[in-house]
């Protein structure tokens, strides 16, 4: 059952075996697993509940509807725009469906450095297989890769770089290219299409409440007791108090939202780990202009990758992942450099533009704090990560030239315009860095990290809090380091893998 919090006319109280806070990849999977186990589960979601017919492919309507802070969330110093989902389904509603497993090298590091147990590549392999089967994950064949991705593939092959097609969770895709604004055709095999119906079918008591902001985890004497929250109307104004009693609480409100709720709940934190370890995968974009039309806005986005500069060894000096990053008109207009007549003249070449992005598998550690009840993201990109970004952007420029670009443009201030490959070394620290070029993050992770040592982690390897019995974290907050790949399928898999411990705890 879906309850729209915005339609409540009185305070709401209930009891359940488990309350899940957040309905993205982690929360959606937890909801299904707990429901399948026969538990009564109530899931809370801060955003609204939307159906495919709501997704109008209009940026000015979808961005405020589907993203936190109406798309305006940034780090505290405004240097990095952080796009995060809001609404039933979380980021699975508007991501590009990328599915790359957590690299084995990363899982090995977690075992070695953070004493994470039971989460090796071998432990997780069957979990990934099951999740990928459930979500119909498959490789995007070459004919379905859009023209922007074909540019990337052509450039990668011309340079002899390492690259290949990506795997997505989509079925019945119409190749419209509007994945990031919600799929109007319901082709995403995501939380709302796959997991929510499965949860509801498994247990008729399962409830999802949209438009409810969890404000506090209730806990007493070292055990969780429930969740308090507030239902909000369409304008975001509080209209009703929500009180839910439960034996189990699952935090799955993202690396930012889960950390913020934990911080607001006075959880024991003897080693100051709450909110620490934020990773963002910061990235930036490079545009290439071609003689022929590209029309990169249409077709399946992000269907090819370049991994020439990416490996997962500890302290690697190859930590840049490259893929495509075409933007819809408003995003492109906001991202291309400058303003006024020159800016408009550049936009006239929109249909002839291909865009690549370099995303850093970051070592920088940020943290989340609370200010007036709202999360604040503190993250100052380190020099090592900045250098990785520079290397990645240079590679993007080389790839674009190798694919036939006449001009390559970086949205630095002032704009950097390159006309031949020999000029890519002009991409230096003078033009790349916070406030010098637009930086974007779509993969926040960390903040409530996994591990057996309470001095370096918040939750055990089971996902349960070190000190609060029955409080579980089952989202990207768990990751003790950057994972270097898009985190969607890893979040699904970790939630699937660890939910059994929550079930056991609920059964007492």
């Amino acid at each position: 059952m879906i309850i729209r919090g915005r339609e409540l006319t009185a305070d709401f109280e209930d009891s359940a075996d488990a309350v899940v806070v957040g309905t993205g990849a982690g929360g959606g999977m937890a909801l299904r697993e707990l429901s399948r186990a026969g538990l009564k589960v109530i899931a809370l979601e801060e955003g609204g509940y939307h159906v495919p017919t709501d997704f109008t492919q209009r940026e000015e309507k979808m961005i405020p509807m589907l993203f936190q802070d109406r798309g305006a969330r940034t780090t505290a110093d405004f240097a990095i725009r952080v796009l995060m989902g809001r609404g039933v389904g979380g980021s699975t509603i508007h991501n590009t469906n990328l599915c790359k497993r957590t690299p084995g090298e990363i899982l090995d590091q977690w075992a070695r450095r953070f004493a994470v147990v039971g989460c090796s590549e071998r432990d997780l392999a069957p979990v990934f297989e099951e999740v990928e089967r459930d979500l119909s994950v498959s490789e995007i064949p070459e004919p379905q890769q859009n023209a922007n991705n074909q540019v990337l593939a052509r450039g990668v092959k011309a340079l002899g770089f390492r690259g290949g097609p990506l795997r997505h969770n989509r079925v019945g895709c119409r190749e419209s290219g509007f994945c990031e604004l919600g799929c109007a055709y319901d082709a995403k095999q995501n939380v709302t299409k796959v997991l929510l119906p499965a949860a509801m079918a498994a247990n008729e008591q399962t409830v999802v409440m949209s438009d409810v902001r969890a404000t506090r985890i209730i806990h007493r004497q070292g055990a969780v007791a429930g969740v308090a929250g507030t239902a909000m109307n369409a304008a975001g104004k509080p209209i009703a108090n929500i009180t839910l009693k439960a034996k189990i609480v699952v935090l799955a409100a993202s690396a930012v939202g889960s950390a913020a709720l934990a911080l607001a709940s006075d959880l024991p934190d003897p080693y100051g780990r709450l909110g620490r370890g934020l990773r963002l995968h910061p990235g930036a974009a490079v545009a290439g202009f071609f003689d022929q039309r590209i029309d990169g806005v249409y077709g399946i986005p992000q269907s090819y990758e370049c991994t020439e500069l990416l490996d997962f060894a500890e302290q690697s000096d190859r930590r840049a992942w490259i893929t495509t990053a075409f933007a819809h008109p408003i995003g492109a207009a906001a991202s291309l450099p400058g303003f006024g007549a020159a800016h408009m003249a550049l936009l006239r070449r929109y249909a002839h533009m291909a865009v690549l992005t370099a995303m850093v598998h970051d070592e920088t550690e940020g943290h989340v704090t609370l200010e007036d009840g709202d999360p604040k993201l503190h993250y100052g990109i380190g020099e090592g990560d900045r250098d990785q970004l520079i290397g990645g952007l240079r590679a993007c420029a080389r790839i674009l030239f190798a694919a036939g670009a006449r001009e390559v443009v970086l949205a630095s201030i002032p704009a950097l315009r390159l006309t031949k490959p020999a000029e890519v070394d002009r991409i230096t620290a003078d033009v790349v860095g916070p406030h010098k070029i637009p930086l974007l993050s779509v993969h926040p992770m960390g903040t409530l990290c996994l591990g057996e040592d309470p001095k370096t982690s918040v939750v055990k390897s089971t996902g349960e809090h070190h000190a609060i019995r029955g409080l579980f974290v089952l989202d990207g907050s768990l990751f003790p380091t950057s994972i270097g790949v898009p985190p969607q399928i890893s979040i699904y898999a970790f939630s699937r893998h660890l939910a059994k411990h929550a079930v056991e705890r609920a059964r007492g």
Binding site: T56, Q57, R58, E59, E60, I63, P64, D69, R70, A72, T74, D77, F78, A79, R174, S176, G177, F178, A184, Y185, A235, G236, R293, V297, Y298, P329, I330, A332, A333, A334, G338, F339, G340, A341, A342, H343, M344, A345, L347, R348, Y350, A351, E371, D372, D374, I413, P414, P434, H435, P438
Partner: protein, 194 residues
């Protein structure tokens, strides 16, 4: 053109710690109050909001006028034909509506930025007049200075303003031809374009 030998921003920056000065612009603090006081003294002479249009929801008439002036420069046309004006598209009205559901702290930041653009940014570029009184070339100069400011948060403020204006302008189907963009692609369930 009346110019000062030392920018107001630099003098203010020397007088108090830099972080505090930056904070005053976008986050709050002592000079935010000063900025507000300046604004109180300099609010005469603004156009009235458009008559007959939807009443403003969160912007004051002063703020509305500043947004409109900024938009006119940010999406200034590169050629005369086929380019609707930001006024015709209703960019300032869109920004007003967009801010309604914004969290109050973020909305407050936008208001402070508008006050800065109108009152202090021209001084920092050597102009005595407020932004909305400047000639277009001078307004461009002020915006360029903001875009490339040595203060990181002012550059971020410029980018935020640019994002709002671009959203307000390029949302309109009349602008799609500028980009060679075919528009949304929503198909009905049978697979045809409605």
């Amino acid at each position: 053109m009346d110019r000062r030998t030392e920018s107001a921003g630099a003098r203010l920056g020397n007088a108090i710690p830099r972080r505090k000065w930056l904070g005053s612009v976008l986050i709050g603090g002592t000079l935010a109050a000063l900025g507000g006081a300046v604004a109180l003294l300099r609010t005469a002479g603004y156009d009235a909001p458009p008559s007959g249009a939807t009443p403003l929801q969160v912007l004051s008439s002063v703020q509305y006028t500043v947004v409109r002036a900024v938009a006119r420069r940010m999406v200034a046309a590169d050629r005369a034909e086929g380019v609707p004006s930001p006024d015709a598209v209703g960019v300032a009205e869109f920004v007003d509506g967009y801010l309604v559901a914004m969290r109050p702290p973020l909305r407050r930041d936008v208001f402070r930025l508008l006050a800065y653009i109108e009152q202090l940014a021209p001084l920092a570029s050597g102009y005595r007049q407020r932004f909305t009184e400047l000639a277009p070339d001078a307004q461009d100069e002020v915006l360029l200075a903001l875009e490339a400011s040595r203060f990181e948060q002012l550059r971020a403020g410029f980018q935020a303003m640019k994002s709002l204006v671009m959203m307000g302008y390029y949302r309109d189907a009349r602008t799609f031809s500028i980009l060679g963009y075919g528009g949304p692609f929503v198909l009905d369930r049978a697979g045809t374009t409605p």
